[in-house]
């Protein structure tokens, strides 16, 4: 993902924090071309309402619980951030395995992520840092193996890797395939812990 990743620590200060992190004055907000991801952290849990914002203008951002003092962010297209949910599920699995085996510290986590899972690698890495704050996996490294989409083309009778953005079209003969062989993965593989 291009651009800045911004982590908000306080609801009330979103606009100020944005300006600070992007090195802009409040009156320069409209010049910020694009914000890819905004993560709002509530006090009770280390995550909150999450969205991707594509443009900054004046106005009120839905989903923000309190109005920032200066200009605010208006989403032109808001999508909930899939990756924070995934990061929290990963953490949950890790914590339960760790509890079973008496593991108190996790240094690295290996995951496998399919092209169809809709997971953006950088967004997942960022979400991981936020999700694991103050947990046994705080500061751990997330190692993401990306699995390309592979379908079985019945006409070619072969495994094929469709070009991105073409759905399940066989790149060789142009026939759409309903058989996804790989690319749907969302798997935890292993974790590295102190010996």
């Amino acid at each position: 993902m291009q651009g800045h990743a911004i982590r908000f620590l306080h609801w009330r200060n979103t606009a100020t924090v944005t300006a600070t992190l992007l090195g802009a004055e409040p009156n320069e907000y409209s010049r910020i071309p694009r914000i890819n991801m905004i993560l709002c952290c509530s006090n009770s849990r280390n995550y909150g309402v999450v969205a991707r914002y594509s443009r900054v203008t004046r106005g009120r951002a839905p989903g923000l619980q309190s109005r920032p003092r200066e200009a605010t962010l208006v989403p032109t297209e808001v999508e909930p951030l899939h990756e924070i949910t995934v990061a929290l599920s990963l953490l949950e699995s890790i914590e339960s395995t760790a509890a079973e085996q008496g593991i108190e510290r996790v240094n690295a986590v290996h995951v496998r992520v399919g092209a169809l899972s809709g997971i953006v690698r950088d967004a997942l890495l960022f979400s991981w840092d936020v999700a694991t704050a103050r947990t046994i996996a705080e500061g751990s490294q997330l190692l993401v193996e990306e699995v390309p989409l592979v379908v079985f083309c019945e006409r070619c009778e072969a495994e094929r890797a469709p070009h991105s953005g073409t759905g399940l079209l066989c790149p060789a003969c142009g026939t759409p395939s309903a058989h996804i062989l790989r690319g749907r993965e969302m798997q935890l593989v292993s974790m590295e812990v102190p010996a």
């Binding site: 999508e79 924070i84 890790i94 809709g118 399940l168 309903a178 812990v193």
Partner: protein
Amino acid sequence: MKMRVVEIAGNLMIKNDALAARLRGRFAESGTFVVNMLSSPGSGKTTLLEQTLRRLSSTYRVGALVGDQATANDSQRLARSGAPVRQITTGAECRLDAEMIAKALEGWDATGLDALFIENVGNLICPAEYDLGEDLRVALLSVTEGEDKPLKYPLAFNSSRLAVITKSDIAEAVGYDRAAARRCIEQVNPGMAVLELSARTGDGMEAWMTLIAERIRSKAFTAAG
């Protein structure tokens, strides 16, 4: 520091899939037909559902679960249809999962229903991964959204059995390209059933209502048998 590797081979969906299977068993026993509706925000899920509940409720016992990140507006709109509606406020979560469905059903005898409609959170990424124990997953696509949406969100359309093109009454005004939309759907789910309708004018609603009513009856029949 010496390290060791702990294998945790596990699909992240294992827990959800197990819960969904349990829900599916419950609904099979009670003969409740369950629909999971997926779409982007603003593609007309609530309007379609409102009309659907209204039309079905004279013949069948129907209800709805509505997932929304923040507001209860949708469930209030749906409650006007007279059918029982429960709201699931998901907060940070961008989708409904089987656990949320199970919780929402606590203290509500949804098994007394002939059909349960689940309006998922408006989002085409995350909900596609989560089985809710449904019989029919429907992906909605409004004519205003751009015909290539299935290519952008292949899993949502690939994992659904039926595509419903909504807001067909304004198709012409927005320059909707029917052939292109069908082509894109075909590219991610060959042979997928497609219905086109306008819940506002009622155009195309007959086919949708017929399909739903048939499925409700066949589910009840299977349960009774």
